[in-house]
Amino acid sequence: MNAIELRGLTKRYGDVTALEDVSLVVEEGEIFGFLGPNGAGKSTTIDILLDFVRPTGGEASVLGHDTSEESLTLRQRVGVLPDGYHLYDRLTAREHVEFAVASKRSDDDVDALLERVGIGDAADRKAGEFSKGMKQRLVLAMALVGEPEVLILDEPTTGLDPNGARKMRELIREERDRGATVFFSSHILEQVEAVCDRVGILREGRLVAVDTIDALRGALGTETRLTLTVDRVDDRLVAAIEAVPGVSSVRADGDRVVSVNCADDAKAAVLGAVSAVDTTLVDFDTEEVSLEELFAAYTETPAETAADDATTAPEVGR
């Protein structure tokens, strides 16, 4: 059985389309990263999984339970860290987790859970006094109640310091090793890369890619950035480099430095073009496309970032 299955999921608010025909399968036992810029439809998808909102078209299921028809059974087996939640300011951390335990009719050790997320010493403090990071940990503790088979975490690292974010990733791995499926959304690829088996990228309500990070990198082609230091940058030089096949962008950084994005196998030709216009090459440096650029390639206008290959990349998930 699949942990999460979306079939042609569509959600419209009036004439605004939040999700358009999204189909996706998340298998049991995997850590799945759900990526996209803010407003791409990540939270809408999660809201549908939890029956907070009803889809306009298509269907969704978690552990085989339809999200609308069998929401109660579904939520009994799922742990949730929602986006834009608010805690009960007058209740203590312990009372929050106790509420979660009573709601799930489980027999979890409340103190052990608070200890596990790192706020054991704040158990009897009221949630209203908590920092954003502590609130996030508390809601995570509530989500872990009842050893859920699927964990749905919406932007779980929001408000956490780097150390807290690392702890969060450790916890996510521990839960996967226990046998849980983890579905978590983020607008930052780096957060996802470290732990995810696979990622799906959402853009303006459409799923544009689903694969492992390595495969996504491959699909974009091995784009390289060349940084050339020369004795003099002029229009003739820029024009000569732009004319080389495989070059996607050329940018002059001051009088002596040129940045070139190009296909991996076009590097030699670029260097050749430089000497062909009688410019002296002082130094050069190459680097692989960063995750940030990879993400941008999928979520921004393709022409701006990763030229030829990006136009085919959105087909990867289909």
């Binding site: 939890l50 909102v53 009803r54 109660l72 939520r75 929602p82 834009g84 939640y85 009573a102 989500a143």
Partner: protein, 284 residues
């Protein structure tokens, strides 16, 4: 019993809010203050010379119904809309609670808050009554308490119902105030207007009150509460006689205290059913 988990959480939360302490304090002041007034200022007792439980409760009744109607707005109008507004509804409904359990849990939790305020007030007042009054009628006092708790349940129910129709706490509060104005003020014009229309747009008053006009007089929650108490307190013979006189005949079943209890129950069930229907379909 998922609603019980929601209700317990709700009450635990409200227990620490100023709303509970404020309403309790106010009602203690109200009930004790009126008891002292009744016992010490003879003019308040009108024609009856001695201080009786019945006389006091009759005096307290109008003030209590007004207090309940206003306190219910404060305590319960934000019950569901407030949680949707702040985002705690996402936390609540991420757990296996149905929306029906949430509505029921909120009804019970908020009724408990206002009910506690009422019970504390009436308990403290018993001391004053025992100390200063010529007599104490425990049965009347108990009947008053029970029927008043029913009014609390009804008014909180109306507010929870309104609260479940919107995702904005401010709007829910506005609906609550609107309902208060409609039920407590505008509804009083209903029987007079209906009679005016039925008489061919003339104010000529009939010799005896038509039964249906008398019914319209006791159709709001507060009026039904007042009628029910008039019927059950002190045996209710006075009310029966007065009503019978106005109607020029025997009192029909729909004007009895039990009918008024039924009216109260309808005010409890119908708004909640409609509110739940809207909440069940809503996108949070």
């Amino acid at each position: 019993m998922s609603w019980a988990v929601v209700a317990r959480k709700d009450f635990a939360d409200a227990r620490r809010s100023r709303a509970l302490w404020g309403t309790t304090g106010l009602f203690v002041l109200l009930s004790v203050g009126m008891a002292l007034l009744y016992a010490t200022v003879p003019e308040v007792r009108a024609d009856i010379g001695e201080t009786t439980t019945l006389g006091y409760l009759t005096l307290l009744l109008a003030a209590t119904s007004l207090f309940v109607a206003i306190a219910a707005i404060v305590v319960a109008a934000g019950a569901i809309a407030g949680e949707r507004d702040s985002g705690s509804a996402k936390l609540l409904l991420g757990f296996p609670h149905s929306r029906r359990d949430v509505v029921l849990g909120k009804l019970v939790g908020r009724t408990a808050v206002l009910g506690v305020a009422l019970l504390v007030g009436l308990a403290v007042t018993v001391v004053v009554v025992l100390a200063l009054f010529d007599s104490f009628a425990p049965v009347d006092y108990l009947v008053f308490t029970v029927v008043t708790l029913l009014l609390v349940l009804v008014y909180v129910g109306i507010m929870v119902a309104l609260s479940s129709t919107t995702g904005s706490g401010g709007r829910a509060m506005a609906y609550g105030i609107g309902a208060f104005v409609a039920l407590e003020l505008v509804a009083d014009l209903l029987p007079v207007t209906a009679l005016f229309v039925a008489n061919g747009f003339s104010f000529a008053s009939p010799e005896t009150l038509p039964g249906w006009v008398a019914f319209l007089n006791v159709v709001t929650p507060t009026a039904a509460y007042t009628n029910a108490l008039g019927w059950f307190l002190g045996g209710g013979t006075a009310t029966e006689l007065a009503l019978g006189g106005a109607l020029g005949g025997p009192v029909p079943f729909y004007l009895t205290g039990w009918a008024s209890v039924a009216v109260l129950l309808a005010w409890l069930v119908v708004p909640l059913a409609l509110g739940y229907r809207s909440f069940a379909r809503a996108d949070l």
